[in-house]
């Protein structure tokens, strides 16, 4: 599903963010990216949805070399990739339902599809009761659930999560992880960058550890260490 071949990324010549990464991730896998701040986790994730292009090497997603993808095709790649972030990135002037519907509307989905999909996904993430609330009326955990609903409403093949529990208390974080686990069980590949030792150690999934831009460990059923 995802393959990096000899991938290096340098934002400036003397400070490489990622060095010679070789990784293959199968469909339906759940992968943790761990490592200190600045070790290259975010760069890794940004390379997968073409927010960045590598300085060297190839990145394949769903069998396509996305480095060579022309810029007008990038949106179609991204329709297959959901993204969630530490800071949720909800639109503050739209309700919960409108935030989720937005993701479908801007890719031109007809209204009857939007009307059917949005309540279904909000039910899945446990927010059926809060459809018409504004983001600032929700707790952090609930806001992250909205952002997961938005990322998943289009049923992407891959879900990229950059420190999704970074702003949440441990109990809330567990709830979010249960949700991500559930999504993963539907066959969606999940790649999650995290600092959260407890979560990694409890879930026991594949762990890729980065240090100064290099992959220093790639272990299935691994721990945070």
């Amino acid at each position: 599903m995802i393959k990096l071949e000899n991938v290096s990324k340098a934002y400036s010549p003397d400070s490489p963010a990622l060095i010679d990464a070789n990784v293959e991730i199968e469909k339906g896998e759940f992968v943790f990216l761990v490592g200190a701040s600045g070790s290259g986790k975010s760069t890794f994730i940004r390379l997968l949805n073409r927010e960045e292009k590598p300085s060297q090497g190839q990145v394949y997603v769903a069998g396509k070399d996305i480095v060579k993808l022309s810029s007008w095709k990038v949106p179609y790649l991204r329709r297959n990739i959901g993204c969630i972030f530490q800071d949720f990135r909800l639109l503050p002037k739209r309700t919960v339902a409108e935030n989720v519907a937005f993701a479908l509307e801007v890719i031109g989905r007809p209204k009857h599809v939007v009307d059917q999909q949005v309540p279904a996904i909000l039910d899945l993430v446990g927010l059926a009761e809060k459809t018409h609330r504004m983001p600032n009326e929700l707790s952090g955990g609930e806001q992250q659930r909205v952002s997961i609903a938005r990322a998943f409403v289009n049923r992407p093949l891959i879900l990229l999560a950059d420190e999704p529990t970074g702003n949440l208390d441990p109990d809330t974080a567990v709830g979010i992880m249960r949700l991500l686990d559930r999504i993963n069980r539907t066959g969606t590949t999940v790649v999650m960058a995290t600092h959260d030792r407890g979560i990694v150690d409890t879930m026991r999934r594949r762990v890729i550890e980065l240090s100064d831009g290099r992959i220093v460990r790639d272990q299935s059923g691994g721990q945070y260490r």
Partner: protein
């Protein structure tokens, strides 16, 4: 398709509403600059029409009676030919047919006036370019024709006409220059309005990119917003132009004190052409502003 269109239009309307004050300012700048451009063209056309028969150094016109005998015309022509190379540099004969043609083109739309004339009632005339253009000499030369048989009247291009031509040309050029500067300013104002609209929606744009909205889907609302500013501005300029035409120009042509400005008018065809130019320039300004704005500020 319907869903897309509806969403794009709703987004555009929302953009304009959020950015209302600036959008209005932008529309006004476009409107004023285009109105000024149009007015400069109206004045130029008006003067051209009023002084058409005096173009190319023609200093006086000998109008014959509409029932002048052919022999009377021949007499005038031989007189003119005798003086050619001497007092007269060049002369042109305008027959009844051509005069009628000019007249009907000029008063096209004025059915009432046109119904009272025919080719036969038109006076043929000789347009004369003298060698010596000194006012006294021209007048002396012209007067020698006045008493000839078949001559109805001799009309001189007075200094007033020359002055009008010069001044009007200067005024219309000045207006054109100012309007050109304002048109450039309108592009910049549209550009700035759009850049503010884009930056106030950067969160939405970021999410749109993230979830895979196509590049055109992101660009189109801003481009429509720019087009609205240009086209609405141009449409606002049109009533202004109609007012200039009806009040100022028609006033001139009907004024008793300014007999010389008789014929200072703009035909319907010319007005239509100028209006189309105004709308076209407005659209062009908007297109340029929009394209530059989305390619410069919208990083898709």
């Amino acid at each position: 398709m319907i869903a897309k269109t509806r969403f794009l239009l709703a987004e555009t309307a929302q953009n304009i509403w959020r950015n209302f004050a600036l959008t209005v300012a932008s529309i006004l700048v476009v409107g004023v600059s285009l109105a000024l451009f149009g007015a400069s063209q109206l004045v130029a056309r008006g003067v051209d029409n009023a002084t058409a028969r005096w173009e190319g150094g023609i200093e006086f016109v000998v109008f014959m009676r509409s029932d002048a005998e052919p022999s009377q015309l021949d007499a005038i022509e031989s007189l003119l030919d005798q003086s050619r190379g001497g007092e007269i540099d060049e002369w042109v004969f305008v027959d009844k047919e051509a005069t009628f043609q000019e007249f009907t083109e000029f008063f096209a739309g004025d059915e009432e006036l046109l119904s009272t004339i025919s080719v036969d009632t038109m006076p043929p005339s000789y347009r004369i370019r003298p060698t010596d253009t000194d006012a006294g000499a021209v007048e002396a030369l012209g007067e020698t024709f006045e008493s000839r048989p078949g001559v109805r009247s001799v009309v001189f291009a007075s200094e007033v006409i020359r002055e009008i031509q010069d001044n009007a040309a200067r005024i219309s050029q000045l207006m054109l220059g100012v309007s050109a500067a304002l048109i450039v300013a309108s592009v910049i104002v549209i550009l700035t309005t759009l850049s503010i609209a884009i930056s106030s929606r950067r969160n939405e744009i970021e999410i749109m990119k993230l979830v895979g909205a196509s590049n055109w889907f992101i660009r189109i609302p801003f481009m429509i917003e720019g087009m609205v500013q240009g086209v609405v501005g141009a449409l606002l300029a049109l009533p202004g132009l109609a007012w200039v035409r009806s009040q100022v120009i028609e006033e001139f042509s009907e004024s008793d004190n300014l007999r010389l400005l008789e014929g200072f008018r703009v035909t319907d065809d010319e007005f239509l052409l100028i209006s189309l130019a105004v709308v076209a320039i407005g659209t062009l300004v908007a297109t340029v502003g929009s394209i530059v704005a989305v390619s410069r500020y919208l990083n898709v």
